[in-house]
Symmetry: C2
């Protein structure tokens, strides 16, 4: 084998392995969620978006795709198999709307763990809409969203605010899924596909789910 043939075959092998890696990475990127790590910070300043939502919960995606809220909702909408939500306060309609839409697809299992200490939700300055389980949440339950209300002793809260999509993407942070948290307070929301973190949070969710 001459030196030229050898070099040519090396180049061919290199090129083919490059194409193969490209193909595999493209395959993976289309299979899984589009995001592997993202941080969103609130309050959302695009108040127009908030007003748009009041007329049509779905309109925001089309109008303000770059808004923090839209990005978060888009990640939720990428769900294809399961959505596990563990949320202290969960009352903002766009989130409930997405959960309702997802659970309409019989292949997607939507499970919600929320805090059941009504006393705490009505104290202070939180509004009545944040009482759990709210009428709206019970409505979702009747439509197929699985619901678990965790009641702890006085002063003790199910204070988590995380969600797991398709057992492969984790959302956590300080953000409750309420209108006030999105538009009025400083909050952070972290999104990651790190399998170690997704696994740990999934375990925690399943522990909550198996509680009597």
């Amino acid at each position: 084998m001459s030196i030229y043939t050898r070099i040519t075959s090396y180049v061919c092998v290199l090129y083919l392995s490059y194409r193969l890696r490209l193909y595999v990475s493209q395959m993976l990127s289309t299979m899984g969620p589009k995001v592997s790590a993202m941080a969103l910070f609130f309050p959302e300043t695009q108040v127009t978006a908030k007003e748009l939502f009041e007329t049509n919960p779905d309109v925001l995606t089309a109008h303000n795709p770059d808004s923090q809220l839209c990005q978060l909702l888009s990640v939720l909408k990428s769900c294809t198999k399961s959505l596990d939500v563990c949320m202290y306060c969960l009352s903002y309609e766009p989130f409930l709307h997405v959960m309702e839409e997802l659970s309409r697809d019989s292949n997607i299992v939507v499970r919600v763990v929320t805090n059941g200490d009504k006393g705490r939700h009505t104290s202070g300055s939180t509004t009545g809409e944040e009482k759990f389980p709210s009428k709206r949440l019970i409505q979702l339950f009747k439509k197929g969203v699985q619901l678990k209300v965790i009641s702890m002793a006085d002063e003790a809260l199910m204070h988590n605010k995380f969600a797991i999509i398709d057992n492969s993407l984790l959302i956590n942070g300080s953000l409750n899924w309420t209108e006030n948290s999105i538009f009025n307070s400083y909050n952070d929301c972290l999104i990651t596909t790190d399998p170690r973190l997704v696994f740990a949070y999934s375990q925690q969710f399943n522990e909550f789910w198996s509680l009597d």
Copy 2:
């Protein structure tokens, strides 16, 4: 060059590159924080640990190294350059103790952003100790911890609960650094060295820090 010489040199190169990678990864692991991803879940059930802390804030590390609180404090203690804390409620002594210890070392810059809406901290069932800036926090400030209190309009909170260590490790989640959050409520705490997330949160911290 015979085929045997060639094979021997290939094997040597492979072995040397393996040793080099091993050396570099060991170097990196000793240079940076020991953890790259971790999830901690509360409430901490080791009440003994809580009692030990009351007599000596440092004793827990020695006695219960596997407890959730210890692991979190150990990560904080790994700080060598800077600790940026952005915390809605920050009153539990072991955390303040670590911050105080770190800032004693003049090479470590400890900066704290906290919520200044006193009204909210005294409403509901939160205790007086969670008022900000608390006497204890002012004491830390006098000892070198840099402090920024963010006051927002009524109903609006600086609700974040995150910290950045040495600009290379991020802690976030639902956990406030209070005794009640650690021992009585369900909370999650995520630790990651993902540079994309660390960078995004650092930017957010610096935005808070540059606010008038």
